[in-house]
């Protein structure tokens, strides 16, 4: 599927039907703030005790004639998203607009005419075909249900469809068990295409198939898109497949879209750390690359539970760049570069969005052990000098400041610790180090605004907490000077620091700093005891 896809011709073909504004003409499906929560009920009264937040506020749009790929680990909500946008499941909140029409709350009956335009291809070619029906009856079901009488009769049309997907018309009277997996998937595709839909949502269309068959089906979907001007939403976990088929790609993590970009930008310069980690983990069929293990970013642990997703940025528990702000403030999906939307405070390959916040969380330090130095020190493709500088500044600052203050979780009650963090953050923005000021000035107004908000928030919180937490919880931030490379500032540490001092296994770059932190930690422990 080439970049210059059929968008133009398709748009032309469908223009007469369009009533909406010209700038929205190209948008076939628009999703705003979509959520889907599955309630967890307990007890005799079946009272709701919680919810699985499978999809938790996502926005995107699908343009006519394009292919939007959706990737993510299992349990990130991508399949639920697919089922909600086709209205096979009802959304909990948000808005779905199809061709300018709000379809969020349509009833089953009202949806039925629309089913012609929105079709789905399912993952399991064995489970999605009724074993008691012949292929003819399966593929002709859409005609029956919609009361459509195609030109030349149903049977002829079904046979044409079978031919279209590469099956023989004689297969009309056979049963699904007589077919192989790849052939069954083709039957599913023929059924989905029967009514000439505008949008096809394909949930893992090839993951149940063998590699050689997978390629056949991918090529088939490709051809059909060109032939019929289809628009696809392809949900898959295989990043290689998604790269091959998609024009734009949305990366999901725990019910949120963390990055949405066109294929080239996403694969060449991913901005979200999760995207980067995900892509580095894909094995490449090339033995020459084996030596270059350094490129691989290993993520620690598993995806957290969607019942109680982590606060702030959901990826902060596994991210090697996570700082305090990631724990407290949720990053918004912002268009940092044209066509590349990212939800991250500290994006890769771009200027830092929260440079005043340099203190790595202890989880981040652990995670960064698994991140190769090459990646940690600025990423391989620092195309923009601005981004590189900012990142470099952030790196050194982070390395120095890392040991000084830490999440004081262990020592205090969770509530108190949050306040402590807030106060620390406030201080951080007050005593902004020189190196960081530089990068701040180079930033875009958007992020500046966001920062200002964050600073205000934290200041307010800090003020509120001041009385409760007392001086014991006060954390001092180091003042890293620009250009100062190794020797860390003598940390004037207090309670919060001592709590995390014995963090184990520091990364290589932090080894020296960590050592002195330990000394400082033991020193300050005495002060806490007093």
């Amino acid at each position: 599927m080439s970049e210059t896809k059929k968008t133009d011709t398709v748009a032309e073909a469908t223009v007469p039907k369009q009533a909406s504004a010209p700038e929205e003409r190209d948008v076939l499906l628009k999703v705003e703030g979509l959520t889907k929560h599955f309630p967890i009920k307990k007890g005799i009264l079946q009272r709701q005790v919680g919810a699985v937040k499978a999809v938790d506020g996502i926005d995107f749009e699908v343009r006519k004639g394009e292919t939007l790929g959706v990737v993510g680990e299992s349990g990130c909500g991508k399949s639920t998203m697919g089922r909600v946008i086709t209205r096979l499941q009802d959304p909990t909140g948000g808005k779905i607009t199809f061709e300018g029409r709000d379809i969020t709350r349509l009833s089953t009956g009202q949806m039925r005419p629309l089913r012609r335009d929105i079709q789905m291809i399912f993952q399991d070619p064995y489970g999605s075909l009724n074993p008691r029906h012949t292929i003819g009856s399966i593929v002709s079901a859409p005609f029956r249900l919609q009361g459509v009488e195609p030109e030349g009769g149903v049977k002829k049309e079904v046979q044409r469809l079978l031919e279209l997907v590469g099956l023989s018309p004689e297969h009309y009277n056979r049963y699904p068990h007589e077919f192989s997996g790849g052939q069954r998937q083709r039957i599913g595709i023929a059924r989905a295409l029967a009514l000439k839909p505008k949008l096809v949502v394909a949930d893992e269309p090839v993951s149940a198939l063998d590699v050689s068959i997978q390629a056949q089906v991918v090529n088939l979907m490709d051809d059909l898109q060109e032939e019929l001007g289809l628009t696809y939403v392809i949900i898959a976990h295989d990043l290689s497949v998604v790269r091959h088929v998609s024009d734009r790609i949305a990366v999901m993590y725990l019910g949120k879209i963390v990055e949405l970009a066109d294929r080239t930008s996403l694969y060449e310069a991913p901005m979200h750390p999760y995207t980067k980690a995900l892509m580095s983990a894909v094995p490449v069929p090339d033995t020459k690359r084996r030596g270059q293990k350094s490129e691989r970013i290993l993520l620690r642990g598993d995806v957290p539970s969607p019942i109680a997703p982590p606060s702030g940025c959901r990826f902060h528990t596994r991210c090697w760049k996570a700082t305090q702000i990631c724990q407290t403030t949720e990053p918004q999906l912002v268009e940092l570069r044209p066509g590349q939307r990212v939800a991250c405070h500290h994006p890769e390959n771009f200027a830092d969005q929260a440079p005043q916040d340099t203190v790595l969380l202890s989880v981040a330090k652990k995670a960064s052990e698994l991140v190769p130095d090459a990646v940690a020190s600025g990423g391989p493709t620092g195309k923009e000098p601005v981004a590189e500088e900012a990142e470099a500044a952030e790196e050194t600052a982070a390395a120095e400041a890392a040991e000084v203050s830490e999440k004081p979780e262990a020592a205090e009650k969770p509530e108190a610790s949050e306040k402590a963090e807030a106060s620390e953050k406030a201080e951080a923005s007050d005593e902004e180090p020189v190196a960081e000021k530089e990068s701040v000035s180079e930033k875009e107004s958007v992020s500046e605004k966001a920062e200002a908000v964050a600073a205000e928030e934290s200041a307010a919180e800090a003020a509120a907490s001041g009385a409760k937490t007392g001086p014991g919880a006060k954390v001092t931030v180091a003042k890293p000077a620009a250009g100062d490379d190794s020797a860390p500032e003598e940390p004037t540490a207090s309670a919060g620091v001592a709590a995390d001092a014995p963090a184990e296994g520091p990364g290589d770059t932090e080894a020296v700093a960590e050592e002195s932190a330990r000394q400082a930690g033991s020193g300050s422990q005495e002060s806490t005891d007093k």
Partner: protein, 364 residues
């Protein structure tokens, strides 16, 4: 053979007339056939390979190519219970100087779990849902070691820790359903390695896992192999995984080996059209691919009616190049194309070289 002491007294002296091989694991002309109502299913039909300790062999192929049956044959899993009556096995499997095909089920049982162990694709169905993970590991250990439950439990905790399960002392009392997919796979690896087996067979160990977890598990297997020096057979359909972890590659098609060689050789200079097909049909993340994939046309063959001649000929785009009807009538044998690199194809070396360099390689 140096490890004979470990396996106890008398497990299958080499039968007279057949020579015990040098290699740690050697499979010679293995055939595994299953008689069914529809006919004889020739799942594995004359397979030979060898493997040394500390090396990793990847067996690649589509579903139904016989790769899993091969591994189950080595483990002696086809001869358990009533299944034993429904299989016809011939050939030789030599593991550390012992022949397994002719050995009695008891003899094989003594080796299974101790000398050789297996990691399955789906850990949820491979582990018993009613028993705690720790108890299952303890059982695997106590079958082969006369130790108290306490010692075995300590060993189980040690192994869980080694495979990277956090809080192993606590998780040892967890049930399989309480583990996530990646954790379960780790627990199964712990179970497989609890007796320090010298041969580890991993049957699609990462297929059911996400890429990030897959990377973790592959790393783990690699590290453990280095630590224990065991031989590993990795069964997979993902050539990316193969390139990642394998020293040698064996490509199977229709129950037979069509290409075999070092991973570098097979990826750099693949010799069989089927291998080309596999490489061509894989979308790759490291390449700008707006071009179409090159699929292998048709579907995998039936193992009851394996095509005559070269089993791949109905799907092979080059089947008509060799003169006469040879691809349809004569089954090609494995021939050495370069040191340690074997391929079973009727195409002449020149033709293969030309097709690979001119037609296939540029498109990959």
């Amino acid at each position: 053979m140096t490890e004979l002491s470990k396996t106890g007294a008398a497990v299958g002296e080499p039968t007279s007339g057949r020579q015990a091989p040098e290699a740690f694991l050697e499979v010679r002309d293995l055939k595994v056939h299953f008689p069914t109502d529809d006919g004889l299913v020739k799942s594995v039909d004359g397979l030979s390979f060898s493997l040394e300790k500390g090396r990793t062999l990847a067996i690649v192929g589509e579903s139904g190519s016989g790769k899993s049956v091969t591994s189950q044959a080595i483990m002696g899993l086809h001869r358990l219970g009533t299944r034993g009556k429904n299989v016809r096995m011939s050939g030789e499997i030599w593991l550390d100087g012992q022949e397994l095909v002719s050995a009695s089920p008891d003899e094989v049982r003594k080796l299974r779990g101790r000398e050789m162990a297996m990691i399955f694709q789906d850990p949820l169905s491979a582990m018993h849902p009613y028993y705690k993970v720790g108890d299952q590991i303890v059982e695997a250990y106590r079958v082969h070691h006369k130790v108290t439950k306490k010692v075995a439990r300590a060993r189980a905790i040690e192994m869980l820790d080694r495979v990277g399960i956090p809080e192993p002392a606590k998780r040892v009392d967890g049930y399989p359903h309480e583990f996530s997919g990646g954790m379960r796979q780790r627990a199964m690896i712990a179970m497989a390695l609890v007796n320090n087996p010298e041969l580890l067979i991993a049957d699609e160990p990462t297929t059911a896992l996400d890429v990030t977890v897959q990377a973790q598990i592959l790393d783990l297997i690699r590290d453990l192999q280095k630590e224990f020096g065991s031989a590993v057979i990795m069964i997979t359909h993902d050539l990316g995984v193969v390139a990642e972890i394998a020293d040698d590659v064996l490509v199977m098609y229709g129950g037979r080996c069509v290409e075999r060689g070092s991973a570098d050789e097979v990826f750099e200079r693949p010799q069989h059209p089927y291998t080309w097909g596999l490489l061509g049909s894989m979308p790759r993340i490291d390449r700008e691919t707006s071009e179409r994939l090159i699929p292998v046309k048709g579907s995998p063959p039936s193992l009851i009616n394996v095509p005559s001649g070269c089993a791949f000929h109905p799907r092979c785009p080059y089947a008509d190049i060799p003169k006469g009807n040879v691809t349809r009538t004569v089954r090609p044998e494995l021939e050495q194309v370069s040191t340690g690199h074997w391929s079973a194809c009727h195409l002449s070396a020149e033709d293969r070289e030309r097709i690979w360099t001119e037609e296939i390689a540029p498109k990959l």
